[in-house]
């Protein structure tokens, strides 16, 4: 069977996969149509190159789903480009915009990341001021399962002094936590990083992750508990108690809401 026949035979599965991705990311009808067209073009172009490169070591369906997923991710990445205003304001503005609007980081988190490089380091207040000048952009990648948590964050242009003091105290604790978490994540092996991402970002079941990683469910469960335990212990060592963690976490939840 040649690539064209594969394509024709699996047209139903291709369209189903496209509709799943579009629904998951809350695409509008026109966007969905564009994306479907883009996927079909990608699959057909260069005489079905993507299908011809299939060697048969996995099932064709899974291969097709992975190809379509990659096309989607590439499209999302390709579509993102910094605004003209950010470009005019310089590299720091471009990076800040990217972190806040594309990668969905909170402003303080973006500042933490930018502090890693002296050329882009920026104070949080300055970041707020900078973002106020940038046009608010809705990130393309929206999860519709809990849309409220992913609404674009509008930076508070002028918080009142009392709130500012409380926020500063909270911010210091948050900074400690972010630094700690950063340290922990850097020390994690690749397998643990994948485990944490699959478990807490993609919401995969532990049994499914175990099958992917070729490990036992119980072992992964123990590993997850150990990572979280280490995280709590590191926070306790840094003088952050259980109550502080709860307060910070609640504060973070409020911020998210």
């Amino acid at each position: 069977m040649d690539a064209a026949e594969y394509y024709k035979d699996h047209l139903k599965q291709i369209n189903e996969a496209i509709s799943i991705i579009c629904r998951k990311h809350g695409m509008a009808y026109d966007e969905e149509k564009d994306f479907a067209q883009h996927v079909h073009l990608q699959l057909i172009e260069n005489d079905y190159k993507k299908l011809r490169s299939f060697k048969g070591s996995s099932s064709l369906k899974t291969y097709l789903y992975t190809v379509i997923s990659r096309i989607f991710i590439d499209q999302v990445r390709a579509k993102w480009h910094p605004s003209t205003a950010a470009k005019r304001m310089g590299a720091t503005a471009v990076e800040l915009e990217k972190l806040v609007y594309r990668n969905q980081y909170a402003v303080y988190e973006a500042c933490q990341i930018l502090a890693g490089s002296p050329s882009t380091a920026i104070e949080e207040n300055a970041a707020h001021a900078m973002l106020a000048k940038l046009q608010v952009r809705t990130p393309r990648l929206i999860r519709v399962d809990d849309p409220e948590t992913h609404l674009p964050s509008f930076p508070d242009p002028a918080p009142n002094p009392e709130k500012r003091i409380t926020q500063k105290q909270l911010q210091q604790k948050k900074q400690t936590i972010v630094a700690l978490v950063g340290e922990i994540t850097r020390s994690l092996p690749g397998e643990d990083k994948l485990l944490i991402k699959l478990l807490f970002i993609s919401n995969r079941k532990i049994s499914e992750i175990a099958r992917l990683l070729g490990k036992e469910d119980r072992m992964l469960y123990k590993r997850t508990q150990a990572i979280l335990r280490n995280m709590r212990a590191a926070m306790a060592d840094a003088g952050i108690g259980e109550g502080d963690v709860r307060e910070i976490l609640d504060g973070m939840s409020e911020c998210d809401d």
Binding site: E16, A17, I20, I21, K24, K50, S53, F54, K55, S57, S58, S59, T62, Y63, Y65, T66, V67, I68, S69, R70, F72, I73, R77, N103, Y105, V181, G182, I184, T185, R186, L188, P189, G190, E191, K193, L194, I196, K197, L199, F200, I201, S202, N203, R204, I206, S207, E208, R211, L212, G214, D217, R218, Y221, T224, I227, M231, R232, V245, L249, M252
Partner: protein, 353 residues
Amino acid sequence: MIEKNDKFVRLNGQDMTLGGLLAREIPGGPNMTDCPTIETLSEFIEGKLAHDARESVVAHLGDCELCYSTLAESLAIREELNNRSRERIKKRFFYSIPAGLAAAAVLFIVFKVWQPAPERSVTPENALAYRKVPAEIKPQPKPKSDPVVAAARSFAGELANRLPGNGAVLPVRITGDHVKTQTSYGFSSIVPLEKAAFRIGACLVDLEVSLKAKDRKKTEAFAKKLTELLKPIESSYGPLSPVIASGDAGKKASRYEGFSSAVEALFKNRKESVYMNFGSWVEASRLAAEAYNSAFFQPADIKGFKKELEQSGAPIGTLRNLQQFDSILSSGRIQTDEFTAIARLLADIKEMY
């Protein structure tokens, strides 16, 4: 409290938030150049990668945001499609069972409750259409070790020497008052003895086969059946009374063997003996056909029975079936299909009695 329910994971809301924070802080890393191919990722998803290759892909996925996102999307698509297919199956069952029951009910009403009135005139041409046609017998090749099949084969060979054909004389004497013209298409209630004789003959074969197979349960069942069949004629056949009395209670094989020979002796020189012999022959032939043993089939036997049965006023259906059996044997080709046809014809005859 948020709970992530899985086989082992019971994470509370705080765990989920901590885990979420941890996951979000895992650096995406720059675009990597040594990304696995799409097909390798697909193999990873399906768990088809070898240990080393899998470890390498896992390490890469931990750091490469592009590959991780691709994996996550692909897993989500697979999960969604699996859910949809499960839903489809559920729906299919949900709707198909009541629909099937409704269809069955309609069919039942059509075929059982509502029946068209039968045609009034029955002619030899349409008589077969009125006859109850038994379900088609499909002889299945049975394993050689099956004792019943082995016994049936051996019995078929033995019986060939006892029955007409092969130079033997049919041990019946037809009296003049029982000779009728062939106008009946089935036995009427006034001739129960012929029917009983046929069934006794068939049952004797079954008894003998089960005895040879040493199948005690079946032997007892056939002996019981035989006893029941003999009861209505017990008064007419006094010499059999002690055998009947002990037959169903007897536990030894020798008792049953005696039973068989006593019944044969009982029918000797009686007009019904042709039916008893015919019953034995039909059952033995049917067993032979089901065991794919053509050695038992002799055209002379068929001709002999046909002639005697014609004179004794046997149902015309019996004679037609015998005629068809004779035609199959005359064709000289007996393969699986022919064995099936013969078994069906003989089972059809049994149904008439």
